[in-house]
Amino acid sequence: MNLNHTLRALWGSFREQATSRATDNFFIGTLFIQPVLMTLLSVGIYIYGGRPDFGLYAVIGAGMIGIWNNNLWTSGSIVQDERRGGTLELLVAAPTSLEVILLGKSLSNAIASLLALAITFATGTIVYRLPLDIENPWAFLGALLLTLVAMTMLGLVIGSLFVLARAAGNLSTVLNYPIFILSGLTFPLTILPIWLRPLSFSLAPTWANMALARSAGVLADASIALSYLALIGLSVAYFVLGHYLYRWIERIVRQRGGLEQW
Protein backbone atom coordinates (compact mmCIF):
# COMPACT_ATOMS: atom_id res chain seq x y z
CA MET A 1 0.00 0.00 0.00
CA ASN A 2 1.45 3.30 -1.18
CA LEU A 3 1.52 6.00 1.55
CA ASN A 4 1.01 8.80 -0.93
CA HIS A 5 -2.08 7.08 -2.33
CA THR A 6 -3.43 6.45 1.14
CA LEU A 7 -2.99 10.05 2.24
CA ARG A 8 -4.64 11.28 -0.92
CA ALA A 9 -7.61 8.93 -0.44
CA LEU A 10 -7.81 10.02 3.20
CA TRP A 11 -7.91 13.64 2.10
CA GLY A 12 -10.50 12.84 -0.57
CA SER A 13 -12.91 11.20 1.84
CA PHE A 14 -12.21 13.93 4.40
CA ARG A 15 -13.29 16.53 1.82
CA GLU A 16 -16.38 14.58 0.74
CA GLN A 17 -17.55 14.29 4.33
CA ALA A 18 -16.88 17.98 5.02
CA THR A 19 -18.84 19.07 1.95
CA SER A 20 -21.79 16.80 2.65
CA ARG A 21 -21.87 17.76 6.31
CA ALA A 22 -21.61 21.50 5.69
CA THR A 23 -25.01 21.46 4.01
CA ASP A 24 -26.73 19.27 6.57
CA ASN A 25 -29.25 21.24 8.63
CA PHE A 26 -29.29 18.73 11.44
CA PHE A 27 -25.57 18.93 11.79
CA ILE A 28 -25.61 22.71 11.88
CA GLY A 29 -28.32 22.54 14.53
CA THR A 30 -26.44 20.15 16.78
CA LEU A 31 -23.07 21.78 16.18
CA PHE A 32 -24.01 25.39 16.81
CA ILE A 33 -27.20 25.63 18.79
CA GLN A 34 -26.93 22.77 21.26
CA PRO A 35 -23.58 23.81 22.80
CA VAL A 36 -24.91 27.35 23.31
CA LEU A 37 -27.97 26.06 25.15
CA MET A 38 -25.97 23.55 27.17
CA THR A 39 -23.60 26.32 28.31
CA LEU A 40 -26.46 28.63 29.24
CA LEU A 41 -27.96 25.82 31.30
CA SER A 42 -24.95 24.40 33.10
CA VAL A 43 -23.20 27.69 33.83
CA GLY A 44 -26.54 29.21 34.81
CA ILE A 45 -27.11 26.49 37.41
CA TYR A 46 -23.69 27.04 38.96
CA ILE A 47 -24.15 30.80 39.12
CA TYR A 48 -27.56 30.41 40.70
CA GLY A 49 -26.17 27.81 43.13
CA GLY A 50 -23.49 30.25 44.24
CA ARG A 51 -20.58 28.43 42.60
CA PRO A 52 -19.48 30.69 39.72
CA ASP A 53 -15.97 29.28 40.19
CA PHE A 54 -17.27 26.12 38.48
CA GLY A 55 -18.13 28.13 35.36
CA LEU A 56 -14.98 27.14 33.45
CA TYR A 57 -15.48 23.48 34.30
CA ALA A 58 -19.07 23.66 33.10
CA VAL A 59 -18.02 25.38 29.87
CA ILE A 60 -15.52 22.60 29.15
CA GLY A 61 -18.07 19.91 30.07
CA ALA A 62 -20.71 21.48 27.82
CA GLY A 63 -18.10 21.54 25.06
CA MET A 64 -17.35 17.86 25.55
CA ILE A 65 -21.08 17.10 25.40
CA GLY A 66 -21.19 18.95 22.09
CA ILE A 67 -18.15 17.10 20.78
CA TRP A 68 -19.67 13.76 21.76
CA ASN A 69 -23.07 14.55 20.23
CA ASN A 70 -21.56 15.75 16.97
CA ASN A 71 -19.43 12.66 16.57
CA LEU A 72 -22.32 10.41 17.41
CA TRP A 73 -24.61 12.04 14.84
CA THR A 74 -22.10 12.36 12.06
CA SER A 75 -19.74 9.40 12.42
CA GLY A 76 -22.50 7.13 13.66
CA SER A 77 -23.92 7.22 10.15
CA ILE A 78 -20.78 7.14 8.00
CA VAL A 79 -21.40 3.56 6.89
CA GLN A 80 -25.18 3.76 7.08
CA ASP A 81 -25.35 6.76 4.73
CA GLU A 82 -23.19 5.02 2.13
CA ARG A 83 -25.40 1.95 2.35
CA ARG A 84 -28.57 3.99 1.92
CA GLY A 85 -27.14 6.04 -0.93
CA GLY A 86 -25.93 2.99 -2.82
CA THR A 87 -22.31 4.14 -2.74
CA LEU A 88 -21.02 1.50 -0.31
CA GLU A 89 -20.56 -1.04 -3.12
CA LEU A 90 -18.67 1.49 -5.18
CA LEU A 91 -16.36 2.14 -2.24
CA VAL A 92 -15.75 -1.59 -1.85
CA ALA A 93 -14.92 -1.81 -5.56
CA ALA A 94 -12.44 1.08 -5.36
CA PRO A 95 -8.77 0.23 -4.87
CA THR A 96 -8.67 2.19 -1.60
CA SER A 97 -9.54 0.11 1.43
CA LEU A 98 -12.81 0.92 3.11
CA GLU A 99 -10.99 1.51 6.37
CA VAL A 100 -8.99 4.42 4.94
CA ILE A 101 -12.12 5.99 3.49
CA LEU A 102 -14.00 5.74 6.77
CA LEU A 103 -11.00 7.03 8.70
CA GLY A 104 -10.93 10.14 6.52
CA LYS A 105 -14.62 10.72 7.12
CA SER A 106 -14.38 10.15 10.86
CA LEU A 107 -11.38 12.49 11.17
CA SER A 108 -13.29 15.14 9.26
CA ASN A 109 -16.21 14.81 11.67
CA ALA A 110 -13.97 14.84 14.74
CA ILE A 111 -12.24 18.05 13.69
CA ALA A 112 -15.57 19.75 13.00
CA SER A 113 -16.89 18.58 16.37
CA LEU A 114 -14.16 20.49 18.21
CA LEU A 115 -15.94 23.68 17.17
CA ALA A 116 -18.43 22.88 19.92
CA LEU A 117 -15.78 23.73 22.50
CA ALA A 118 -15.08 27.08 20.86
CA ILE A 119 -18.80 27.78 20.90
CA THR A 120 -19.23 26.99 24.59
CA PHE A 121 -16.23 29.18 25.46
CA ALA A 122 -17.69 32.01 23.41
CA THR A 123 -21.11 31.61 25.04
CA GLY A 124 -19.62 31.57 28.53
CA THR A 125 -17.63 34.71 27.83
CA ILE A 126 -20.33 36.68 26.06
CA VAL A 127 -23.45 35.77 28.02
CA TYR A 128 -22.14 35.16 31.53
CA ARG A 129 -18.97 37.32 31.29
CA LEU A 130 -16.89 34.47 32.70
CA PRO A 131 -13.15 35.04 32.85
CA LEU A 132 -12.11 31.91 30.92
CA ASP A 133 -8.34 31.82 31.19
CA ILE A 134 -6.46 28.69 30.18
CA GLU A 135 -3.73 28.11 32.73
CA ASN A 136 -1.52 25.89 30.59
CA PRO A 137 -2.26 26.49 26.89
CA TRP A 138 0.23 23.93 25.61
CA ALA A 139 -1.14 21.17 27.78
CA PHE A 140 -4.65 22.23 26.72
CA LEU A 141 -3.64 22.00 23.06
CA GLY A 142 -2.18 18.55 23.69
CA ALA A 143 -5.42 17.50 25.36
CA LEU A 144 -7.39 18.79 22.36
CA LEU A 145 -5.21 16.85 19.97
CA LEU A 146 -5.60 13.61 21.90
CA THR A 147 -9.35 14.22 22.17
CA LEU A 148 -9.41 14.57 18.40
CA VAL A 149 -7.58 11.28 17.92
CA ALA A 150 -9.80 9.45 20.40
CA MET A 151 -12.98 10.80 18.78
CA THR A 152 -11.74 9.84 15.29
CA MET A 153 -11.09 6.26 16.37
CA LEU A 154 -14.34 6.11 18.28
CA GLY A 155 -16.13 7.34 15.14
CA LEU A 156 -14.72 4.38 13.23
CA VAL A 157 -16.13 2.01 15.85
CA ILE A 158 -19.61 3.52 16.14
CA GLY A 159 -19.88 3.99 12.38
CA SER A 160 -19.38 0.25 11.89
CA LEU A 161 -21.34 -0.76 14.97
CA PHE A 162 -24.42 1.27 14.03
CA VAL A 163 -24.73 -0.46 10.69
CA LEU A 164 -24.07 -3.98 11.96
CA ALA A 165 -26.39 -3.68 14.93
CA ARG A 166 -29.33 -1.45 14.11
CA ALA A 167 -30.32 -1.44 17.76
CA ALA A 168 -27.01 0.22 18.61
CA GLY A 169 -28.19 3.40 16.94
CA ASN A 170 -31.31 3.53 19.04
CA LEU A 171 -29.42 2.54 22.15
CA SER A 172 -27.00 5.38 21.72
CA THR A 173 -29.69 8.02 22.09
CA VAL A 174 -30.70 6.37 25.36
CA LEU A 175 -27.11 6.02 26.55
CA ASN A 176 -26.13 9.61 25.76
CA TYR A 177 -27.01 11.02 29.16
CA PRO A 178 -25.59 8.11 31.18
CA ILE A 179 -22.32 8.70 29.34
CA PHE A 180 -22.40 12.41 30.22
CA ILE A 181 -23.08 11.43 33.82
CA LEU A 182 -20.39 8.75 34.01
CA SER A 183 -17.84 10.99 32.31
CA GLY A 184 -18.46 13.80 34.78
CA LEU A 185 -19.28 16.30 32.07
CA THR A 186 -20.25 19.62 33.75
CA PHE A 187 -19.98 18.19 37.29
CA PRO A 188 -17.10 16.56 39.17
CA LEU A 189 -16.82 12.78 39.15
CA THR A 190 -16.50 12.77 42.93
CA ILE A 191 -20.22 13.41 43.21
CA LEU A 192 -20.92 9.89 41.86
CA PRO A 193 -20.74 6.74 44.01
CA ILE A 194 -17.25 5.31 44.04
CA TRP A 195 -18.28 1.95 42.57
CA LEU A 196 -19.10 3.69 39.28
CA ARG A 197 -15.49 4.81 38.88
CA PRO A 198 -14.33 1.79 36.78
CA LEU A 199 -17.11 2.51 34.28
CA SER A 200 -16.17 6.17 34.18
CA PHE A 201 -12.52 5.37 33.58
CA SER A 202 -13.32 3.14 30.61
CA LEU A 203 -14.87 6.06 28.71
CA ALA A 204 -12.80 8.39 26.55
CA PRO A 205 -14.88 11.52 27.35
CA THR A 206 -13.96 11.15 31.03
CA TRP A 207 -10.27 11.47 30.26
CA ALA A 208 -10.68 14.06 27.54
CA ASN A 209 -12.71 16.22 29.90
CA MET A 210 -10.21 15.67 32.69
CA ALA A 211 -7.21 16.55 30.52
CA LEU A 212 -8.88 19.69 29.20
CA ALA A 213 -10.09 20.83 32.63
CA ARG A 214 -6.81 20.16 34.39
CA SER A 215 -4.77 22.03 31.80
CA ALA A 216 -7.25 24.90 31.96
CA GLY A 217 -6.61 25.19 35.68
CA VAL A 218 -9.53 23.42 37.36
CA LEU A 219 -9.57 19.95 39.01
CA ALA A 220 -6.34 20.47 40.95
CA ASP A 221 -6.08 16.81 41.98
CA ALA A 222 -6.24 15.33 38.44
CA SER A 223 -3.13 14.29 36.54
CA ILE A 224 -2.57 15.52 33.00
CA ALA A 225 -0.05 12.78 32.23
CA LEU A 226 -2.40 10.05 33.37
CA SER A 227 -5.30 11.38 31.30
CA TYR A 228 -3.03 11.69 28.25
CA LEU A 229 -1.96 8.09 28.67
CA ALA A 230 -5.53 6.89 29.12
CA LEU A 231 -6.62 8.73 25.96
CA ILE A 232 -3.80 7.18 23.96
CA GLY A 233 -4.60 3.71 25.31
CA LEU A 234 -8.32 4.03 24.56
CA SER A 235 -7.57 5.38 21.05
CA VAL A 236 -5.45 2.33 20.30
CA ALA A 237 -8.17 0.04 21.63
CA TYR A 238 -10.85 1.76 19.51
CA PHE A 239 -8.61 1.61 16.46
CA VAL A 240 -8.06 -2.13 16.82
CA LEU A 241 -11.76 -2.71 17.37
CA GLY A 242 -12.66 -0.47 14.42
CA HIS A 243 -10.18 -2.30 12.23
CA TYR A 244 -11.84 -5.65 12.88
CA LEU A 245 -15.33 -4.23 12.51
CA TYR A 246 -14.52 -2.70 9.14
CA ARG A 247 -12.97 -5.95 7.94
CA TRP A 248 -16.15 -7.70 8.96
CA ILE A 249 -18.26 -5.21 7.05
CA GLU A 250 -16.12 -5.49 3.93
CA ARG A 251 -16.42 -9.27 4.08
CA ILE A 252 -20.19 -9.17 4.53
CA VAL A 253 -20.57 -6.75 1.64
CA ARG A 254 -18.55 -8.97 -0.66
CA GLN A 255 -20.22 -12.18 0.45
CA ARG A 256 -23.73 -10.84 0.11
CA GLY A 257 -23.24 -8.15 -2.47
CA GLY A 258 -24.37 -5.41 -0.13
CA LEU A 259 -25.64 -4.69 3.34
CA GLU A 260 -29.28 -4.89 2.31
CA GLN A 261 -30.12 -7.47 4.95
CA TRP A 262 -28.85 -5.15 7.60
Binding site: G29, L41, F187
Partner: protein
Protein backbone atom coordinates in the same frame (compact mmCIF):
# COMPACT_ATOMS: atom_id res chain seq x y z
CA UNK B 1 -70.89 20.65 17.56
CA UNK B 2 -71.53 16.97 17.11
CA UNK B 3 -69.52 17.07 13.92
CA UNK B 4 -66.67 18.81 15.76
CA UNK B 5 -66.78 16.11 18.42
CA UNK B 6 -66.56 13.44 15.75
CA UNK B 7 -63.58 15.00 14.00
CA UNK B 8 -61.91 15.43 17.38
CA UNK B 9 -62.41 11.73 18.02
CA UNK B 10 -61.11 10.89 14.57
CA UNK B 11 -57.93 12.86 15.24
CA UNK B 12 -57.55 11.32 18.68
CA UNK B 13 -58.03 7.85 17.27
CA UNK B 14 -55.43 8.47 14.57
CA UNK B 15 -52.89 9.73 17.07
CA UNK B 16 -53.51 6.89 19.51
CA UNK B 17 -53.36 4.24 16.80
CA UNK B 18 -50.03 5.61 15.64
CA UNK B 19 -48.78 5.74 19.22
CA UNK B 20 -49.78 2.15 19.86
CA UNK B 21 -48.47 0.84 16.56
CA UNK B 22 -45.76 -1.79 16.40
CA UNK B 23 -43.22 0.83 15.56
CA UNK B 24 -44.03 3.50 18.12
CA UNK B 25 -44.65 1.47 21.26
CA UNK B 26 -41.26 -0.29 21.53
CA UNK B 27 -39.64 3.02 20.74
CA UNK B 28 -41.59 4.72 23.52
CA UNK B 29 -40.70 2.12 26.12
CA UNK B 30 -37.21 1.34 24.87
CA UNK B 31 -35.98 4.74 23.82
CA UNK B 32 -38.10 7.76 24.62
CA UNK B 33 -39.13 6.96 28.17
CA UNK B 34 -35.67 5.87 29.40
CA UNK B 35 -34.21 8.93 27.75
CA UNK B 36 -36.81 11.09 29.47
CA UNK B 37 -35.72 9.76 32.87
CA UNK B 38 -31.97 9.68 32.21
CA UNK B 39 -31.92 13.23 30.93
CA UNK B 40 -33.70 14.35 34.08
CA UNK B 41 -31.18 12.41 36.15
CA UNK B 42 -28.30 14.22 34.46
CA UNK B 43 -29.69 17.64 35.29
CA UNK B 44 -30.63 16.61 38.82
CA UNK B 45 -27.03 15.56 39.48
CA UNK B 46 -25.75 18.79 37.91
CA UNK B 47 -28.11 20.80 40.11
CA UNK B 48 -26.99 18.82 43.15
CA UNK B 49 -23.36 19.67 42.35
CA UNK B 50 -24.23 23.34 41.97
CA UNK B 51 -26.62 23.90 44.86
CA UNK B 52 -27.07 20.78 46.96
CA UNK B 53 -30.24 18.77 47.60
CA UNK B 54 -32.62 21.72 47.46
CA UNK B 55 -31.61 22.74 43.94
CA UNK B 56 -31.65 19.06 42.94
CA UNK B 57 -35.28 18.87 44.07
CA UNK B 58 -36.04 22.03 42.10
CA UNK B 59 -34.43 20.47 39.02
CA UNK B 60 -36.34 17.22 39.39
CA UNK B 61 -39.73 18.94 39.32
CA UNK B 62 -38.55 21.19 36.51
CA UNK B 63 -37.16 18.41 34.33
CA UNK B 64 -40.08 16.07 34.79
CA UNK B 65 -42.45 18.84 33.73
CA UNK B 66 -40.10 20.32 31.16
CA UNK B 67 -39.71 16.95 29.44
CA UNK B 68 -43.46 16.42 29.48
CA UNK B 69 -44.19 19.82 28.00
CA UNK B 70 -41.63 19.27 25.31
CA UNK B 71 -43.02 15.85 24.48
CA UNK B 72 -46.36 17.50 23.86
CA UNK B 73 -44.74 20.17 21.69
CA UNK B 74 -42.69 17.78 19.62
CA UNK B 75 -45.46 15.23 19.18
CA UNK B 76 -47.61 17.92 17.60
CA UNK B 77 -44.71 18.93 15.36
CA UNK B 78 -44.33 15.28 14.36
CA UNK B 79 -48.01 14.82 13.55
CA UNK B 80 -47.94 17.90 11.29
CA UNK B 81 -44.76 16.59 9.68
CA UNK B 82 -46.42 13.21 9.14
CA UNK B 83 -49.38 14.87 7.43
CA UNK B 84 -46.89 16.66 5.23
CA UNK B 85 -44.94 13.56 4.27
CA UNK B 86 -48.06 11.52 3.77
CA UNK B 87 -49.44 14.25 1.52
CA UNK B 88 -52.68 14.34 3.49
CA UNK B 89 -52.80 18.10 3.99
CA UNK B 90 -54.74 18.69 0.78
CA UNK B 91 -57.29 16.25 2.17
CA UNK B 92 -57.61 18.49 5.22
CA UNK B 93 -58.36 21.38 2.89
CA UNK B 94 -60.92 19.36 1.02
CA UNK B 95 -62.54 17.73 4.05
CA UNK B 96 -65.90 19.23 4.99
CA UNK B 97 -65.09 19.05 8.69
CA UNK B 98 -63.38 21.86 10.52
CA UNK B 99 -59.77 20.84 11.02
CA UNK B 100 -59.37 22.55 14.42
CA UNK B 101 -60.91 19.74 16.48
CA UNK B 102 -58.96 17.29 14.35
CA UNK B 103 -55.68 18.94 15.26
CA UNK B 104 -56.63 18.99 18.95
CA UNK B 105 -57.38 15.30 18.70
CA UNK B 106 -54.03 14.70 17.07
CA UNK B 107 -52.32 16.20 20.13
CA UNK B 108 -53.87 13.67 22.51
CA UNK B 109 -51.26 10.92 22.28
CA UNK B 110 -48.63 13.51 23.12
CA UNK B 111 -50.48 14.38 26.33
CA UNK B 112 -50.68 10.75 27.38
CA UNK B 113 -47.04 10.14 26.69
CA UNK B 114 -46.08 13.32 28.54
CA UNK B 115 -48.06 12.28 31.60
CA UNK B 116 -46.56 8.81 31.55
CA UNK B 117 -43.13 10.46 31.49
CA UNK B 118 -43.88 12.67 34.49
CA UNK B 119 -45.17 9.78 36.57
CA UNK B 120 -42.27 7.45 35.79
CA UNK B 121 -39.69 10.19 36.34
CA UNK B 122 -41.04 10.92 39.80
CA UNK B 123 -41.38 7.24 40.65
CA UNK B 124 -37.87 6.35 39.52
CA UNK B 125 -35.93 9.38 40.76
CA UNK B 126 -37.69 10.35 44.02
CA UNK B 127 -36.04 7.53 46.04
CA UNK B 128 -32.69 9.20 45.34
CA UNK B 129 -33.85 12.48 46.88
CA UNK B 130 -33.08 11.49 50.46
CA UNK B 131 -34.45 14.00 52.93
CA UNK B 132 -35.93 16.18 50.22
CA UNK B 133 -38.64 13.91 48.86
CA UNK B 134 -42.16 14.80 47.90
CA UNK B 135 -45.41 14.44 49.72
CA UNK B 136 -47.49 12.20 47.49
CA UNK B 137 -50.72 14.07 48.30
CA UNK B 138 -49.17 17.38 47.19
CA UNK B 139 -47.95 15.77 43.94
CA UNK B 140 -51.43 14.41 43.27
CA UNK B 141 -52.90 17.80 44.03
CA UNK B 142 -50.58 19.34 41.45
CA UNK B 143 -51.38 16.69 38.83
CA UNK B 144 -54.22 18.63 37.13
CA UNK B 145 -51.88 21.60 36.83
CA UNK B 146 -49.30 19.38 35.17
CA UNK B 147 -51.80 18.22 32.59
CA UNK B 148 -52.86 21.82 32.07
CA UNK B 149 -49.26 22.96 31.45
CA UNK B 150 -48.73 20.15 28.99
CA UNK B 151 -51.84 21.22 27.10
CA UNK B 152 -50.84 24.89 26.92
CA UNK B 153 -47.74 23.81 25.01
CA UNK B 154 -49.84 22.57 22.08
CA UNK B 155 -50.37 26.08 20.73
CA UNK B 156 -46.65 26.71 20.48
CA UNK B 157 -46.01 23.29 18.95
CA UNK B 158 -48.70 23.85 16.39
CA UNK B 159 -47.40 27.36 15.60
CA UNK B 160 -43.86 26.08 15.02
CA UNK B 161 -45.19 23.26 12.87
CA UNK B 162 -47.21 25.72 10.79
CA UNK B 163 -44.35 28.17 10.36
CA UNK B 164 -41.93 25.48 9.24
CA UNK B 165 -44.51 23.63 7.16
CA UNK B 166 -43.03 24.62 3.79
CA UNK B 167 -39.50 24.01 5.01
CA UNK B 168 -37.56 20.85 5.51
CA UNK B 169 -36.32 21.72 8.99
CA UNK B 170 -39.57 21.48 10.95
CA UNK B 171 -38.55 18.88 13.49
CA UNK B 172 -35.14 20.44 13.93
CA UNK B 173 -36.71 23.77 14.83
CA UNK B 174 -39.19 22.21 17.29
CA UNK B 175 -36.35 20.30 18.92
CA UNK B 176 -34.18 23.36 19.26
CA UNK B 177 -36.99 25.50 20.65
CA UNK B 178 -37.82 22.71 23.08
CA UNK B 179 -34.23 22.57 24.22
CA UNK B 180 -34.08 26.36 24.58
CA UNK B 181 -37.13 26.23 26.83
CA UNK B 182 -35.08 24.21 29.32
CA UNK B 183 -32.90 27.28 29.67
CA UNK B 184 -35.41 30.12 29.80
CA UNK B 185 -38.55 28.64 31.37
CA UNK B 186 -37.18 28.10 34.86
CA UNK B 187 -36.74 24.36 34.53
CA UNK B 188 -33.36 23.94 36.23
CA UNK B 189 -33.04 27.26 38.01
CA UNK B 190 -35.44 30.15 38.56
CA UNK B 191 -36.09 32.52 35.70
CA UNK B 192 -34.82 35.40 37.89
CA UNK B 193 -31.27 34.03 37.62
CA UNK B 194 -31.18 34.60 33.85
CA UNK B 195 -29.83 37.72 32.14
CA UNK B 196 -32.75 40.21 31.90
CA UNK B 197 -33.31 39.79 28.16
CA UNK B 198 -33.64 36.03 28.49
CA UNK B 199 -36.01 36.51 31.45
CA UNK B 200 -38.42 38.28 29.13
CA UNK B 201 -38.21 35.49 26.60
CA UNK B 202 -38.94 32.98 29.35
CA UNK B 203 -41.94 34.88 30.67
CA UNK B 204 -43.50 35.14 27.24
CA UNK B 205 -43.44 31.37 26.66
CA UNK B 206 -45.89 28.76 27.90
CA UNK B 207 -44.69 26.43 30.70
CA UNK B 208 -42.89 29.16 32.71
CA UNK B 209 -45.89 30.29 34.79
CA UNK B 210 -47.44 26.86 34.88
CA UNK B 211 -44.25 25.48 36.33
CA UNK B 212 -44.19 28.19 38.98
CA UNK B 213 -47.73 27.28 39.96
CA UNK B 214 -46.87 23.56 40.12
CA UNK B 215 -43.87 24.20 42.36
CA UNK B 216 -45.96 26.40 44.65
CA UNK B 217 -48.73 23.81 44.96
CA UNK B 218 -46.22 21.01 45.70
CA UNK B 219 -44.73 23.23 48.41
CA UNK B 220 -48.11 23.79 50.05
CA UNK B 221 -49.84 26.65 48.25
CA UNK B 222 -53.52 26.42 47.40
CA UNK B 223 -55.01 26.76 43.91
CA UNK B 224 -56.38 30.16 44.96
CA UNK B 225 -52.86 31.35 45.77
CA UNK B 226 -51.60 30.42 42.34
CA UNK B 227 -54.67 31.55 40.39
CA UNK B 228 -52.84 34.53 38.80
CA UNK B 229 -50.11 32.21 37.54
CA UNK B 230 -52.66 29.79 36.12
CA UNK B 231 -54.42 32.68 34.43
CA UNK B 232 -51.21 33.90 32.83
CA UNK B 233 -50.31 30.41 31.65
CA UNK B 234 -53.76 29.98 30.11
CA UNK B 235 -53.58 33.38 28.44
CA UNK B 236 -50.15 32.69 26.93
CA UNK B 237 -51.25 29.25 25.75
CA UNK B 238 -54.31 30.74 24.07
CA UNK B 239 -52.33 33.50 22.37
CA UNK B 240 -50.03 30.92 20.80
CA UNK B 241 -52.94 28.70 19.84
CA UNK B 242 -54.67 31.64 18.14
CA UNK B 243 -51.49 32.56 16.28
CA UNK B 244 -51.09 28.92 15.27
CA UNK B 245 -54.66 28.72 14.03
CA UNK B 246 -54.18 31.82 11.85
CA UNK B 247 -50.83 30.63 10.57
CA UNK B 248 -52.07 27.13 9.76
CA UNK B 249 -55.11 28.52 7.94
CA UNK B 250 -52.81 30.80 6.01
CA UNK B 251 -50.60 27.86 5.06
CA UNK B 252 -53.54 25.78 3.88
CA UNK B 253 -54.85 28.70 1.81
CA UNK B 254 -51.45 29.25 0.27
CA UNK B 255 -51.29 25.57 -0.61
CA UNK B 256 -54.76 25.82 -2.14
CA UNK B 257 -53.75 28.85 -4.22
CA UNK B 258 -50.53 27.43 -5.56
CA UNK B 259 -51.89 23.91 -5.83
CA UNK B 260 -48.66 22.73 -4.31
CA UNK B 261 -49.65 19.42 -2.80
CA UNK B 262 -46.38 18.65 -1.06
CA UNK B 263 -46.12 22.16 0.36
CA UNK B 264 -42.39 22.23 -0.03
Amino acid sequence: MRLAMRTFLAGARASLVMEASDFALPELLGTRLPRFILQALFFVILAYAAGGPELARFALIGNAMGNAAITSLIMLGISIEIEKWAGTLPLLIAAPANWLPLMIGRALAGYLEALLGVVTTFVVLTPFMTGFGFAVDRLLLAAPLMLFSVATMSGLGWLLGSITLPMRIGLLVSNMVAYAMFVVCGVNFPVEALPPALQWVGRSLPLTHGLMAIRAVIDGASYLDVAPLIGLEALIGLVYAAAAWLMFRQRLRAAQLTGNIELH
